[in-house]
Subunit: 253 residues, 6 copies
Amino acid sequence: MTDATTPAIVRKDGRAVDQLRPVTIERGWSDQAEGSALISFGKTRVLCTASFTNGVPRWKTGSGKGWVTAEYAMLPRSTNDRMDRESVKGRIGGRTHEISRLIGRSLRAVVDMKALGENTIVIDCDVLQADGGTRTAAITGAYVALADALEWARGKKFIGQKSQPLIDSVSAVSVGIIDGEPMLDLAYVEDVRAETDMNVVVTGRGLFVEVQGTAEGAPFDRRELDSLLDLAVGGAAELAALQRSALDAVAGA
Amino acid sequence: MTDATTPAIVRKDGRAVDQLRPVTIERGWSDQAEGSALISFGKTRVLCTASFTNGVPRWKTGSGKGWVTAEYAMLPRSTNDRMDRESVKGRIGGRTHEISRLIGRSLRAVVDMKALGENTIVIDCDVLQADGGTRTAAITGAYVALADALEWARGKKFIGQKSQPLIDSVSAVSVGIIDGEPMLDLAYVEDVRAETDMNVVVTGRGLFVEVQGTAEGAPFDRRELDSLLDLAVGGAAELAALQRSALDAVAGA
Amino acid sequence: MTDATTPAIVRKDGRAVDQLRPVTIERGWSDQAEGSALISFGKTRVLCTASFTNGVPRWKTGSGKGWVTAEYAMLPRSTNDRMDRESVKGRIGGRTHEISRLIGRSLRAVVDMKALGENTIVIDCDVLQADGGTRTAAITGAYVALADALEWARGKKFIGQKSQPLIDSVSAVSVGIIDGEPMLDLAYVEDVRAETDMNVVVTGRGLFVEVQGTAEGAPFDRRELDSLLDLAVGGAAELAALQRSALDAVAGA
Amino acid sequence: MTDATTPAIVRKDGRAVDQLRPVTIERGWSDQAEGSALISFGKTRVLCTASFTNGVPRWKTGSGKGWVTAEYAMLPRSTNDRMDRESVKGRIGGRTHEISRLIGRSLRAVVDMKALGENTIVIDCDVLQADGGTRTAAITGAYVALADALEWARGKKFIGQKSQPLIDSVSAVSVGIIDGEPMLDLAYVEDVRAETDMNVVVTGRGLFVEVQGTAEGAPFDRRELDSLLDLAVGGAAELAALQRSALDAVAGA
Amino acid sequence: MTDATTPAIVRKDGRAVDQLRPVTIERGWSDQAEGSALISFGKTRVLCTASFTNGVPRWKTGSGKGWVTAEYAMLPRSTNDRMDRESVKGRIGGRTHEISRLIGRSLRAVVDMKALGENTIVIDCDVLQADGGTRTAAITGAYVALADALEWARGKKFIGQKSQPLIDSVSAVSVGIIDGEPMLDLAYVEDVRAETDMNVVVTGRGLFVEVQGTAEGAPFDRRELDSLLDLAVGGAAELAALQRSALDAVAGA
Amino acid sequence: MTDATTPAIVRKDGRAVDQLRPVTIERGWSDQAEGSALISFGKTRVLCTASFTNGVPRWKTGSGKGWVTAEYAMLPRSTNDRMDRESVKGRIGGRTHEISRLIGRSLRAVVDMKALGENTIVIDCDVLQADGGTRTAAITGAYVALADALEWARGKKFIGQKSQPLIDSVSAVSVGIIDGEPMLDLAYVEDVRAETDMNVVVTGRGLFVEVQGTAEGAPFDRRELDSLLDLAVGGAAELAALQRSALDAVAGA
């Protein structure tokens, strides 16, 4: 982002503009779910579980294809100010709906529904602590939980030994422009100041699944858009490597 | 999209790949609202009204700034199969929430809230008939309703004679890749077949407000993304011209 | 209402006491619905669509009879002050329920459910603009949409070629007493001032389907009731003629 | 209804066509409410309570006028088949809404809101047992509860010693046509068979507050309507006498 | 509770500390329900109905076992200040849920579900007037309604002539500590002052079904707990006797 | 529970009947909340956060007293079978309500509301993993979070330096009878088999705050009740010691 002779812009937490926060993936966190991961992007912590069940929703029955869906939610005190519970309010807010749908689409983009067969996987992403980037952490962790649930299902012979429903990996990262400077993986204090904010979902092969850019302050031009995409592709490649190494480790070890 | 020697791909409705459907803007359709427009993108018809009220929501009171928000909904038989009413279901779906929020953000991007003062404008976009592109038609029509409501407020001296809350115009258009070919302004039959679907919100000056691209089928690469953006920018420029000519006409005439 | 020697009372909009507002019926307004009409009673505009589906609700299955039901709603800015959406409030108000039920009962009164067979027609009446008499305009327009949907079903052979589910036509009109004077088809400014307000649903043959009279101000006596019924029967006959001529025209022409 | 030489039609329960069921009014049933009455129309039993509170809803504040409103509900096993509770379903049905509104309007028609002052009375009508005519019994009993609550308020000096908010009494009765014969005060077995069903709300002076006639089976003509109104006016006069004698008795004695 | 030489503490209503309020059980109050009882504990009056239906909820189908469940609710003006209806609020409160569940569990504890067979009994306990102890009166009355519904079912041969689904009777009573003194069957004015409040459900044989003690003020020690249990067991024995004599009487006589 | 000569009954997980599962308290787990603890009772893991805010609900304003309340919820895949989210269902279930109320009452029993002053503490107990005893773990962890939030408030001078709102500590434990044998701290597999199940909330001084015993199978007698209370008091004393040592440690260390 910055040419060699300019001293690197240092962010509040000391990161370079193209640097991710520390990422940890605690695979197999749950004793109950078929697949699970507790993922952290800095102080953002999301518990992702994958629940595998035989059968599909009625509208898919008989299609020979499976279904993957996701639900996202935040604990009421995951944030700095306590939020009311959506269960208490009796309705789910627009933001929650939007992110749940985004996670579901992102995961479905890397699943071969034929290979999954008539089985359903529900991914739950519950934000235990929020410090920006909860949706991108959720997608990145959800992929690990999903991979483990599929492995579990293969072990149980719910899907064929040779079936490989995963056709690619998927991760997500946020990028944004702050004081005119494109930056990777915004923490909350950065996110609220960003003029433009973009969430990018990228497969392990580097293809785009989702590009969601929003001008929070001033509209952005094509050159800025390009810079943001560059940063995002780089960050996503790092996340893909972290997912691989988490999945290569012995689960729960 | 197609080089000069290739015969242009002809779409189901006879359009070229970079051609909008016929667009009509019936400004001042409503006798009740401060601003209104009945907009058509082909068979898609959306009634947009702008309701101006003095005062702002509690969390903005005393800020000296105004507020613009939007609500989107579809009539139950705007679609080919009748949908249940969200009022009857007792809850608003995720898609409705998502689009309402998108319209609101898009309009706010071109409003100077200081110049608006402590006044609120609620934009209602009700889809009377749906044939793809309802959210982009809604944004495009909503801008016209908004402009008229602001003019009305200036006439009533609710905003200063020299205040110009509109800092730019805004319109939106969908683009998508069908059978590998990027196309502009998808009708419903095209939309359901698109591998990638993108909604782009662009200001009159050609800057991006929102870029929302989704791989419905296969993930897309950077080159495809660029082609889609090119198409969208072109279509949005045409829409901006149509908005200008609607607003230049004598309202209701 | 007024004897020959008294100069006719002139209403705010210049009408005689026994005069309807201008009525227009735009038949076949929707490209999606099996039957539709955009009806205007003066500035009141209601979009009526009829959705035909095979089968009936579970509690009618096997009865050999069909079902007709209706839903009424107002767009939030159909009125002079914007109303909150019922979908946003999460519940349908009493007035909406009441009118939906009234429309459904009124239409069922002229349908032979045996001749309809096990098919369902849902009528949606959405008020695009409100200026008094929305429920009576809705019933009157709904009948036209219903008639077209039945014609469509006959064309599709979903009902027998010789079946005639319609046993009569039906229309509705409001009447009220203002400053002691009975008047036909109240506009909003009249409606709010009326001491007594009555909605009357009448078949093409002149029989009553519904009589709903309410003393908003002072209770009314038998003579006033009789005058109101006389006025209503006259207005309904005019509406029946307008329905006939709309249905005689070539749809969509 | 039947001329002198025809033997009177005898109804299932032995009543003449113009005869009410036995009516009892247990005034002051509740130890908690400011006014109350447990009313029976045959086996139909409705507990009516009137709750008096100082102040009015926000939209009436400063008007110097009071407010009277009503809520109607049925116990789940008031009917022959148990119904689900509306609280459990999470929404109030159309019929409940409709009847609550009817009761409120009927009572307001006999209250001088200026004389009531800025006070609110909420009438609750809970059907303990249902056998037809629950809404008419509710209105009739509600008037007694209302009268007692006003007397209580006068005792407490919440309304002036010389104020008389009640400008008339009000009662209600159902009438209907069964096998072509108009009948008064339908029990449930009659109600389900009625071709036309009408609820009529009448003041003590014999004026109409509400006339709600519905053709359940065949539409009805003017002559039938007249017969029904005659029957209703007669029944209402009897009910008014019963209300008077209940109110003349020493409450709770 | 008080030793022989101390003059008995006299409660506001003149009762001794170990004395129940006057209890009446009006068995067969409802003409509609299979079993019913209107029970009074002093001014607390609860209408209990038992609705018998063949079949069980889906999750019990095929088990050969029946199901008993309960719903509790208060009329809005059963209390000294009117409460909003839960149907109007659109949600059931925690207290209502809690008590409904308590009643259901208490009754199920004395029913042999095998002997009941695949039948369901729904108990509705509606508080017509509340003066403390509504849940204990509800359980005590519900048992009588349940017994009659089972007798009805045996008469209808829905359960075998020799089947006896009731394995014991069940009643409930409240106890509490006021000014350091344990007392039986608290009226409302006592309940609000109690430091500790306990509801105890006891079978006819004197065994415990539920013990729910709560320190409203100061926590309580083991000795106090023992005193409360002693009082409750004594009160429950009296209630069991009253239930027996109600059931021995000829129903409805 | 077992006399010296009988070999101790060994439970599925090897515990003695009067032995708690391993308990861990991770104090200060959250970076956002004023107080927090992640508590484990065996595999049951509950995240407890305490949110301190100035001011009290309207009905307490001006009383000079504070307020403490609690909300309990389970993550959808905290259990072996995934449960639907209450936010998605749009309503909170009876069990959730019941437990939230229990936690709130338990904590309030050890808080001096005067010393707290007009401040509110909301405790959120979210079950991340469930294996029996979630409500008792929640209460035990909530106390630690509450204590830290009060310490935080003292540091911020929101409560006086000499104020000590905590008048005691509080913890909770479940006990139950399985195969006739009373046991402490039931795991899920034990809980489903228990004939009687009791949750007991006890202060650090050994006084009872709540005793909630339920006969799931057969009713229980006084002797069994006494055994269960003995076990519970012993377990609670151990938990109180663990709370003290967690709070004596340096938070977050």
